[in-house]
C-alpha cells in the first residue's frame, strides 16, 4: 500500500512545549484510521499540523499525491458563528467551494448535488432553516453533508461524535464507512474504544509520542492503553530541553 501521509520525526507544539513528540509513522492511502489517546496526547494538534495551521517545531509531514485543497477537516471546536443568519442550504453548499470558488455559479446540477448531500445525512426539509435553530446533532449532520460535497481524498475528523446521540452517531459512522469504501483516506480522533474496535480497521495510539500504530486489535490492548496513560502523566512533569533529535 502506498503511503498517503508520512510523518517524519514530527514534533508539533505550542510555545516550545511539544504536544506531538518525534512522531515517525505513515498513514496508508485509503485507510480508515482512528487516532486515540488520553486527553492532552496531541491528537487534535496532529490534525492541526496536517491542516497547516500549526507549523512543525521539528520534522516534516509529507503528503504524497494530493493538494492542500483535497483535504477536508472537521475541527473539534468549530469556529462557526451559530447566530450568523445563513441557512442550512447555504452552509452545506459551501462544501462545493473547490468547484465553484468565491465567484462561480451554483447551477442546477450542483443544486441537486447539495440536496442529495442533505438527504444523505437525513436533513431533508431543513434546507431553509437558519443554522442557529439546529440542535447539536443536526448541526453535525449538516457539517457532514458539507464534508460529503467537499469530495476530499483525505478526511480529518476531530472528535466528530462528542455530544451526539446514538442514532446520529450510527448514521454518521455509515457515511464514514462509505468514504472508506470509496477509497478515501479517513483519520478520526475518537475516545469510544468500542466504536473504534467495531468500525475502524486501523488505529494510531498517541501519548505525545507514538504508542502503537497498526491493525486496531493489535493496538487497543490493555497494555498499550496503560502505557499511554503513564506516558501522558510523565509528560506533565517539569519539562527539560529535549535532547532527542534527528541526526
Amino acid at each position: 500500500m502506498t503511503a498517503s501521509v508520512a510523518f517524519q520525526n514530527l514534533t508539533l507544539g505550542y510555545d516550545r512545549h511539544p504536544a506531538v513528540h518525534h512522531l515517525d509513522t505513515e498513514i496508508s492511502e485509503g485507510s480508515l484510521t482512528a487516532i486515540v489517546g488520553p486527553n492532552g496526547a496531541g491528537k487534535s494538534t496532529l490534525l492541526k499540523g496536517m491542516m497547516g495551521s500549526l507549523s512543525p517545531l521539528e520534522g516534516t509531514i509529507d503528503f504524497s499525491g494530493f493538494e492542500r485543497e483535497e483535504i477536508a477537516y472537521l475541527p473539534q471546536q468549530s469556529e462557526i458563528d451559530r447566530s450568523f443568519p445563513i441557512s442550512v442550504l447555504d452552509l452545506v453548499s459551501m462544501g462545493l467551494w473547490r468547484e465553484i470558488g468565491a465567484f462561480g455559479r451554483l447551477g442546477r446540477a450542483r443544486r441537486t448535488q447539495v440536496s442529495d448531500a442533505i438527504a444523505a445525512v437525513g436533513l431533508t426539509g431543513f434546507e431553509k432553516r437558519p443554522i442557529g435553530s439546529l440542535s447539536g446533532g443536526q448541526m453535525q449532520r449538516a457539517l457532514f453533508a458539507r464534508l460529503l460535497l467537499q469530495d476530499a481524498k483525505l478526511v480529518l475528523l476531530d472528535e466528530p461524535f462528542t455530544a451526539i446521540d446514538a442514532k446520529t452517531m450510527r448514521d454518521l459512522v455509515e457515511i464514514i464507512e462509505n468514504w472508506h469504501s470509496e477509497g478515501r483516506t479517513v483519520l478520526a480522533v475518537l475516545h469510544d474504544y468500542e466504536l473504534v474496535g467495531s468500525h475502524f480497521p486501523q488505529t494510531l495510539m498517541l501519548a505525545r509520542e507514538l504508542v502503537a500504530h497498526g491493525p486496531t486489535n493489535t493496538v487497543l490492548t490493555a497494555e498499550n492503553r496503560f502505557r499511554a496513560r503513564q506516558m501522558c502523566e510523565a509528560c506533565n512533569s517539569t519539562p527539560h530541553i529535549c535532547g532527542k533529535s534527528a541526526a
Binding site: M51, D81, F84, P85
Partner: protein, 289 residues
C-alpha cells in the same frame, strides 16, 4: 400643506436636492458594510475607525486647506494605516484585534486632536467634525456616488467569501487563501465609507449612518439580504426626515439625520417583528412538533 412640508424644500432648493442625493449615496454604500460589522460583532470597530480617520483629514486640511481631494486622501491613508496595522498586529502577535485596534486608533485620535488644536480656531474645522451636507458641490457629490458604487460592486464580488469569513472563518481558511484578502478588503470598505460619510455628516456622525440602520434592521429581517434592504431603507428614510427637520427647524443636519436614525432604532427595538420587545411579549401559539 403636506406638500409644503415634505416636497417643497427639495423642489425649491438645489442644496436640499444635493444633500438628499449625497445622503442616499452614503446610505447605500455604508449600510451593507454596517450590517456585516454588526453581524461580526464589530459595531464598535466602525466607531474606532471613524476616530482614526481624523488625523488624516486634519493633515490633508493642513497641507492644502479645505480641499476635498487632500482631506479624502488623508482620511483614507490614516484609516488604512490603522486598519492594516491593527489587523497585522492581531494576526501575527499575541494581542487580539480589539486591543490592537484600540491602541492604534487612540494614537491616531490623539495625533488628530493635536493637529486640529494647533491650527484651531478655524471655522472650517467644523467641516471635519460635523460635515457639510447642505453645501455639497459637484465634485463632492461625484465623490460620494463613486465611493458608494465602488463599495457596492466590491461587496457584490466578495459577498460569498465575506459571508463565509463571518460565519465559519476556519472553513474558509481550509478551502481557500482568500481569508486574509477578504478581511482586509472589508476593512478597506469600512474606511472608504467612513471617509465618504465624513464629507456629508462629519467624522463623528459618519459611523451613525453605518451602524444605527443596521441595528434597527435586526428587528425587521432575518436573512442577510433582508437585513441589508431594511438597513438601507431605514438610512434613506432617516436622511429624508432628518434633512426636512433640519430645514424647517434650523437644526444642524448631520446630528438631525443621525438622531432620526436613532429614533428609528428605538422604534424598531420596541415594535420590530423579529425579536422586538412587543413581539417577544405577545402571547403566541407554538407549532406542533
Amino acid at each position: 400643506m403636506i406638500y409644503d412640508f415634505l416636497v417643497a424644500p427639495f423642489a425649491d432648493f438645489g442644496f436640499m436636492r444635493r444633500a438628499l442625493l449625497g445622503c442616499i449615496a452614503v446610505a447605500l454604500g455604508a449600510t451593507p458594510v454596517g450590517v456585516f460589522l454588526m453581524l461580526r460583532r464589530m459595531s464598535l470597530t466602525g466607531d474606532a475607525m471613524a476616530h482614526a480617520i481624523l488625523p488624516g483629514a486634519a493633515i490633508g486640511y493642513l497641507v492644502s486647506g479645505l480641499s476635498l481631494g487632500a482631506m479624502t486622501i488623508g482620511g483614507l491613508i490614516a484609516g488604512m494605516i490603522v486598519a492594516l496595522g491593527s489587523g497585522f498586529v492581531a494576526r501575527f502577535t499575541a494581542l487580539r484585534e480589539d486591543a490592537s485596534l484600540a491602541a492604534f486608533y487612540l494614537i491616531s485620535l490623539a495625533l488628530g486632536v493635536l493637529i486640529v488644536s494647533t491650527r484651531g480656531g478655524n471655522v472650517d474645522l467644523m467641516h471635519v467634525l460635523f460635515g457639510t451636507v447642505l453645501a455639497l458641490d459637484d465634485s463632492a457629490l461625484i465623490l460620494l456616488c463613486s465611493f458608494a458604487s465602488i463599495s457596492l460592486i466590491t461587496l457584490a464580488i466578495f459577498f460569498r467569501p465575506l459571508v463565509l469569513e463571518c460565519a465559519d472563518p476556519q472553513f474558509l481558511r481550509s478551502v481557500s487563501k482568500l481569508s486574509a484578502i477578504t478581511h482586509f478588503t472589508f476593512l478597506t470598505l469600512v474606511v472608504m465609507n467612513l471617509v465618504a460619510g465624513f464629507h456629508a455628516l462629519g467624522t463623528l456622525m459618519a459611523v451613525g449612518i453605518m451602524i444605527l440602520p443596521a441595528a434597527a434592521a435586526r428587528f425587521w429581517a432575518q436573512g442577510i439580504g433582508g437585513l441589508i434592504a431594511a438597513a438601507a431603507a431605514v438610512a434613506i428614510l432617516s436622511s429624508f426626515i432628518g434633512l426636512l427637520l433640519s430645514f424647517h427647524y434650523s437644526l444642524p443636519s448631520g446630528p438631525a439625520i443621525i438622531l432620526v436614525a436613532g429614533g428609528g432604532y428605538v422604534l424598531s427595538l420596541i415594535f420590530g417583528p423579529v425579536g422586538g420587545i412587543v413581539a417577544q411579549n405577545l402571547p403566541r401559539q407554538h407549532f406542533e412538533t
